[in-house]
Structures are given as structure tokens and as C-alpha cells.
Symmetry: C2
Subunit: 314 residues, 2 copies
Amino acid sequence: MFTYLPFDQVKNISVLGTGTMGASWVSYFLAQGYNVSAWDPSDGWESRLRTFVDTAWPQLESLGLASNASKTALTFNNSPESCVANADFVQENAPERIGIKQELYAKIDHAMPDHTIFSTSTSGLILSDLVTSVDTAHRFVVGHPFNPPHLIPLVEVVAGQKTDPAVTEWTMGFYKHIGKHSILIRKEVRGHLANRLQAALWREATLAVVNDLASIEDINAAMSQGPGLRLAVMGPHMIFNLTGGKGGFEKFYSHFGPAMEEWWKTMQGEPELTRELCDAIVAGLKDEAGSRTIDDLEAERDRKLLNVLKAVKD
Amino acid sequence: MFTYLPFDQVKNISVLGTGTMGASWVSYFLAQGYNVSAWDPSDGWESRLRTFVDTAWPQLESLGLASNASKTALTFNNSPESCVANADFVQENAPERIGIKQELYAKIDHAMPDHTIFSTSTSGLILSDLVTSVDTAHRFVVGHPFNPPHLIPLVEVVAGQKTDPAVTEWTMGFYKHIGKHSILIRKEVRGHLANRLQAALWREATLAVVNDLASIEDINAAMSQGPGLRLAVMGPHMIFNLTGGKGGFEKFYSHFGPAMEEWWKTMQGEPELTRELCDAIVAGLKDEAGSRTIDDLEAERDRKLLNVLKAVKD
């Protein structure tokens, strides 16, 4: 069995695809003191990436940089092959289309060193479908982050059918080593886990629009001014462990379980995602946003998110 | 039409039922400078309530007390009738059983002053079912808080069939006046809105246990280390407004809507809440808690929640 690199010998990280997710990953890896080698096929990507890193840097500084972190440890490549040639670890963020990813994987399959571990940020695709023709598939794994990856700790790690279990274990450990919170998803399912939880929440939030239960702004506040505040602190099962008071989760389960089951019965079906529904949500969001532009809202989200990240650290 | 009190003339608030929710409400109203008149039918409630207020007070202090706030503005009553006799506003937190609430309402129906507005904390019952025999039903409304009410801003306001629209409007405004974030739920449905959103999330989090998708600890982290951090900052529709980048919600809707619909198709049915499932979750929570007791976890939640509340304030 091949032995993978000890974490402290990892120096070079390659990032393939530098859109929103990739650029955020680049910023994070630089902040952790790695040499980052980047590639993207689009026009003008280098300057967009520089701008992203410049914007993210003060945020990363406020969370704490590695002692050797430098924005200048970033190199730009004009092919995926050259990008991964010296990689100890690759984070891939190509568009979510199976053909594009397969084509990219074919190019870098034999361009990576033998010890390189290749992690894909895919949110919606199944790894085993992507690596059918890849010779080094045992070193491929899913490392799915949340937007924006340079701020949100969560990374979902999922093995494909061909993934070496040692690679999965290495990847779980490496993300932790660099300060992320990696969790192990035991099966290849659409949306992994966290996006399914989000989708379940959004389904009900959208049914609330369809059923005219409240304004868009009030539906948003129903989470962000209520249960959402607790979900930044603890996960759903642990929250209910405390809802049970001294009796813990057992008490919650016997006391509130029947109510949950009754509510679930009335929470069936799904909204039809029509043009009208989209218009209604857009209009409601416009009311809520008032004079704030998308850029303003994004800046507000990141500013508050930084504060929240510091708030939940012990 | 009777005119209700201007908010700044409200001086006396009655709290009926001082379990976890009621005691937290008492603490909050005291911190906002009101005279609070309390009643509970259980043995030893007075000392438990004192202890609760003493524990909550430093937290409330750190969020900012009203200039006239005092822990000594609390009086204990030995009947619900005497408790509400001078009330400008009543917050009721009796057990979630229709018979108990109906019996209590019959007692205070004619014991309240003519201008008093009566708000019930009920999470699972329908107001119109509770006030069928109440003569003053037009002054009854739902004001449903989230645990713990002295920290979480959200209050869901719901009118019953007999509620005077002016009472609903007054109650929305009064909660805002005292620093809560009130939202208007337009229909009487089981679980109002926020609990339905929570129930949708917990259904999927529980299906993840049943399907062995990840450990309990990792399922919790899938929210609290990921999307949960954002949900403390903005609600689900606004979050996705930003997922769309410069294109906003429209872009998200056209780009990710089809994926959502595909995931939803695989997210059907509900977990059966068996003994074995409860045991599995309890065991997982025990692993996650390690040496932390319920009291430790509760203190941790409240400490971090306070930090988060400060973090999201602009």
C-alpha cells in the first residue's frame, strides 16, 4: 500500500477552476500558508482571482493567518496539467456538469505526482460516475465545502466506489489539519447531507410562500431571528436534546415526537417552481432588501458571518 | 371600538404559568422595566422562578437592561384571577393541553381589566379552539416565542377567528416595542411557521440517521458548522438570493431549482419514531457530549447564543 504524505509535509495545493468557490478555496489555502497553483479556462480569470483574494484577505487576517501565509504564494497556470504537476493536494471546482469534469479528469489523471490526493467540490454529482475512466480513481474523493469556503468550516467528505479508504481517512484528517470541520458522509447520495438538510428547509419555506402563511421577509425572520440563531450554536439533534430539559433527548422524543409526526402529516408534497412563485419571492426579497444591493447584502452576510464564527468559538 | 393602551402606558404584565417558557418571559419583562405579576399552580414555583431570574439576569444585563429594570418588580400570586387583576398585558404559558388552557381561560375571562390583551405562548394548539367559550375572545391572540424567550428575538403572532384585528396589530407592535422580533402568521396552522421549518429540518436530519448517512455528531455539524451559521445571519430565501451571485434569486432559481426538485423527489416519507431510533440518537448525542452534562450544554448554548445575538446586531 502506498503511504500518503504526512500532513506537515504538504506544501503545494492546486486549485482547478477559480469561480466563486475556487477563488474562495485559493484564499483559504493561501491564508493557511500553502503554495497555491491555480488554473481556470475563462478569460480574465487571473485578475478576478487577485481581486477575490484581496477582498477575502482582511477577513482571513481577522480569523488568524498561518505565520508563513502570503498572497504572493499564488501561481497562475495556463493548463490543468501544469497546474497539478507538483500538487500534494488538488481541490477541483469545475462547473457541475459531468462531461466537463470527466474531460478535465482525463487530462490530469497521469499529470499528478503519485502521492497526490484529488478532492472535488462537487455538490450535486456522484463521484463514482465521474471517475469511470480514471486510472488513479483510488486517489479521488469528494471534499464539498459551503459558500463561502474561506469562512464556513464545514467540508463534507465522501468516498467513491473506487476510493482507497486510506485516502478518505487522509482527506478527513487533512481538512481538520488546516482548520476546516470535515464530516464523513457514508453513502453517495444526491446533495450529500447538508444540502439535503437545506433543501428540506427551503421546501417548507417555499410551501409557506405558496400557502400565503407569511410575507417573504417574515418567513426569513422565522429562521434568522429564531431557530437559525440556535443552529449556529448546535445541530438539530443536540438542540432538541436541550428542548427536553433535564430529561434530555428521551424527554423531547416522547413529549414532542407525536406533535412532530402530526405536523409531518400536514407537511407533504412540494411546491411547483413556477415563474409566478419566483416572481413572488423576488418581490418579497426586494421589499426586505430595501435600498441594499446584492453587493451590500453580500458584504453584510460576510461581516456578520465573521462575527458569528468568532461568537461560537469557545 | 375600544382603544387599546399606547405602548408607553403599559406598566403591568402578568405571566400565567412559570415553567421554562414562563420563567424566561418573566425575566425578559422584568429586564424591560415592567412590573411582573406571576402565577403558577405547582409546588415550590416561587423559588424556582427566583432562581431562573437570578440566572438569566447577568445575560440580560449584557444585552442591556431598561433604565428602570428591577428584579424586585416581581409579585407572586396564589390565583390566576388575582394575577391578571391589574394586567395591561398577559403572557400565558400553561401546559399544551386544550382542557387545561380552556379551564384557565374561563377563570380569567372576566377577571382582566377591559383594556387587557391576552397572548398565549402556545406552540401546538389552535387559538380558535381554545376560546370557544371565552367572552373576551376578541382580545386573545397567539404570541409564540422560542426557547429561551429571554434571548431569542422571534415571536410569532397569530390571530384566532374572533381576534379583533386591532388586537393583532397592537400585539405585533407591542412585541417590537419591547425589543422582540414579531412576525405575522396569516393562518391558524399546526406549529405556526418556525416550528414547521424546524420540523422539516429535523425530519431530514432523522432520515439521515435511519439511512445511516453519517454519525449523529456529523449530522449535527452538517448544520452548525455549515448552513446553520448563515441561517443566524439571514433567512432561507435571502441566503439563496446571494447563492445566485450578481444574478440574485432569479439566477439561483433557474440554476439550482431543478436540482432542488430532483433532491426533493428522493426526500419523501418520514422516519418512524421507534424506540430503537431514539436509542441510536441518544447514544450518538452521548458520544458528542463527551463529559458535558445537560447543564453544561445548556450553559454553553446560552453563552454562545448571547455571543451570536451580539454578532448579528448591526
